[in-house]
């Protein structure tokens, strides 16, 4: 039956049955009435098949004279990533049962919603290497802040060591969330050569007063942190390791933070099938170990059986939520992003383990290609020596804003100037290369940089 059968639900057995009952041997026999010479031989005169991303790109190019598309090359990331989203995601979430629904107030009546959340939790646990995921939170920054509050409930210790290489906006949200009577934030500097959190400084700051150490991997500079040894140090001092992230896709190839001993893993799920869309709505991911589940904010969906022994889903541990515990709830700002969580669920399940790994590898290899291209450009160099995923920092010998303006003329969104977050990095650009960037776009970007730096 070949490719033909991909779009037709009948199995080969079905077809055989049907042919048999009308007394012919093969499908071609049905066309016997047409004289041989009028029958088409060979294959249709069509171009080779395209993958979904290539097909969409082709169609967009065709429509662009009528509908001016954006046509820009994207090298921006820093917490909001331009990834390919399979059409099935928007097609499924556009069902009105999903997109009009708010938190179900009688949750058990919405078995479909609960099952989707349950599947989400399972997938996110697999992605992060943790035991329990909540039913999602508002966004990456607030998830990480909730993780910091959670660590205080668990350790009752006051100090929190926060890496300077955590997304600067996440840092600001953490500072806004904490109660200064209960917790104190101490910054761990980053290593100026490697772009990683400075491990020596971390060891110096670590004490019995430290409840948690907060890192992000890959960190804001795109650099992969060495979580394992840091986790061991933190645990020896009786504290908890909180691993943040803004690029969830990295875990397609990186060892999940759970394996490196993280006690709480919290971050942003936008990369998993959610469009950049002007900054939101996004998806907050928060996972932990089972022994800490009673300190975890937000809700959790559990699997159970009903009176007849049939599988069903319920809200679990909801007794610690605000509608029951009021001001003593584990969190009063734990908005569940149901629809975005569903998008991530569909995205992850349609990519599968292999697909996710492939996309992650594409990000890595394109970013590595861009690193190579840029290191040949005069007046431009890589700022840090450590391994990265799909983001990296470059140092340029000209005012970054001016360089970006030159690139913008060629419709290239060339990167993010870091000066507003790190005054000492005032000649630096954070560059992101996802699977959406074509090789020739990377070449154009490097050429444009070369011209701008002449």
């Amino acid at each position: 039956m070949g490719d033909f059968s991909r779009y037709i639900p009948h199995t080969e057995a079905d077809c055989r049955d049907m042919l048999e009952s009308i007394g012919v041997q093969k499908v071609e026999d049905l066309f016997k009435a047409i004289p041989e010479k009028y029958r088409m031989k060979g294959t249709l005169n069509l171009p080779e098949p395209l993958s979904e991303p290539d097909l969409l790109r082709r169609l967009q190019a065709l429509q662009s004279p009528a509908v001016p598309g954006d046509g820009s090359s994207h090298f921006l990331g820093a917490g909001a990533y331009h990834h390919f989203i399979p059409s099935v995601v928007s097609s499924l979430i556009s069902r009105s049962e999903f997109y009009t629904a708010y938190t179900p107030y009688q949750p058990e009546i919405s078995q479909g919603t609960l099952q989707a959340i349950f599947e989400y939790q399972t997938l996110i646990c697999q992605l992060t290497g943790m035991e329990v995921s909540n039913a999602s939170m508002y966004d990456g920054a607030s998830s990480l802040a909730e993780a910091v509050l959670m660590s205080q409930r668990m350790t009752k210790r006051k100090k929190v060591l926060l890496s300077q290489a955590v997304h600067p906006e996440y840092q600001t949200v953490i500072r806004t969330y904490i109660d200064p009577d209960q917790q104190e934030i101490v910054t761990i500097p980053y290593n100026k050569k490697e772009g990683r959190t400075d491990e020596e400084a971390l060891s110096r700051l670590l004490s019995e007063e430290v409840g948690a150490v907060v890192l992000q991997s890959p960190n804001f500079f795109g650099v992969i942190e060495d979580l394992g040894p840091i986790g061991e140090k933190v645990h020896r001092a009786g504290g908890l390791l909180i691993a943040g992230f803004s690029e969830a896709l990295a875990y397609g190839i990186l060892a999940p933070p759970g394996v490196s001993g993280a006690d709480i893993v919290a971050g942003e799920g936008q990369s998993l099938g959610i469009p950049v869309s002007f900054g939101g709505p996004y998806l907050g991911i928060l996972t932990t170990q089972e022994k800490y589940v009673r300190n975890m904010p937000g809700r959790l969906v559990g699997e159970t059986v009903d009176l007849d022994g049939k599988r069903g889903f319920v809200l679990t541990l909801a007794t610690r939520e605000q509608h029951i515990r009021r001001e003593k709830a584990t969190s009063n700002i734990c908005t569940n992003e149901g629809l975005c969580a569903l998008m991530a669920t569909i995205y992850l399940s349609c990519l599968g383990k292999e697909g996710l790994r492939e996309v992650a590898l594409m990000n890595l290899s394109k970013a590595e290609y861009a690193k190579k291209a840029v290191s040949k450009v005069k007046g431009c160099s890589l700022a840090f020596s450590s391994p990265t995923f799909n983001e990296f920092v470059i140092k340029i010998e000209r005012e970054p804003e001016e360089v970006l303006k030159v690139l913008a003329k060629d419709k290239i969104l060339g990167g993010l100037s870091l000066a507003r977050f790190y005054p000492e990095l005032n000649r630096h650009l954070l560059v992101t290369v996802t699977e959406m960037v074509m090789k020739k776009e990377i070449d154009c970007w490097a050429d444009a940089l070369e011209r701008a730096l002449k």
Partner: protein, 127 residues
């Protein structure tokens, strides 16, 4: 429902049994009836110090989560570890196997303001 004699009660539904310098604390039969099946009990650490009225732990049931308030000031000397695996002891035997914590009392005068079994019963809403 039992209102065991010889114990002291609080309006927040804890019971207290005086034994020399220490007191044993649990929650009343009435309280466990209201809460329904207890699924988890969070207890303080040995040696932790509390003031009268502080929350010393949490009882979680299928229906709600309630704080346990210390009726006295003092230091925790023992907690009922059996509750970790058998939280249902609170439902089955609230005055016996369901005890929660023992505290070394700093000022026995604090016990004076507590309710007798009879007064505690009277303080409850009529069913």
């Amino acid at each position: 429902m039992e209102f065991r004699e010889g114990l002291l009660y609080t309006e927040s539904h804890e019971w207290v049994k005086e034994e020399g310098d220490t007191v044993t604390i649990g929650i009343s039969d009435y309280a466990q009836c209201q809460m329904k099946d207890v699924v988890y009990v969070e207890m303080p650490e040995i040696g932790a110090e509390f003031k009268k009225g502080d929350s010393i732990g949490v009882v979680e049931s299928v229906k709600t989560v309630a704080d346990i308030y210390s009726p006295v000031s003092g230091k925790v000397v023992e907690t009922n570890l059996a509750l970790k695996d058998h939280p249902q002891f609170i439902n089955e035997d609230p005055f016996g196997k369901g005890w929660i914590v023992k505290i070394a009392v700093r000022d026995k005068g604090e016990l004076k303001g507590m309710l007798s079994a009879k007064d505690y019963r009277k303080s409850l809403p009529e069913e």
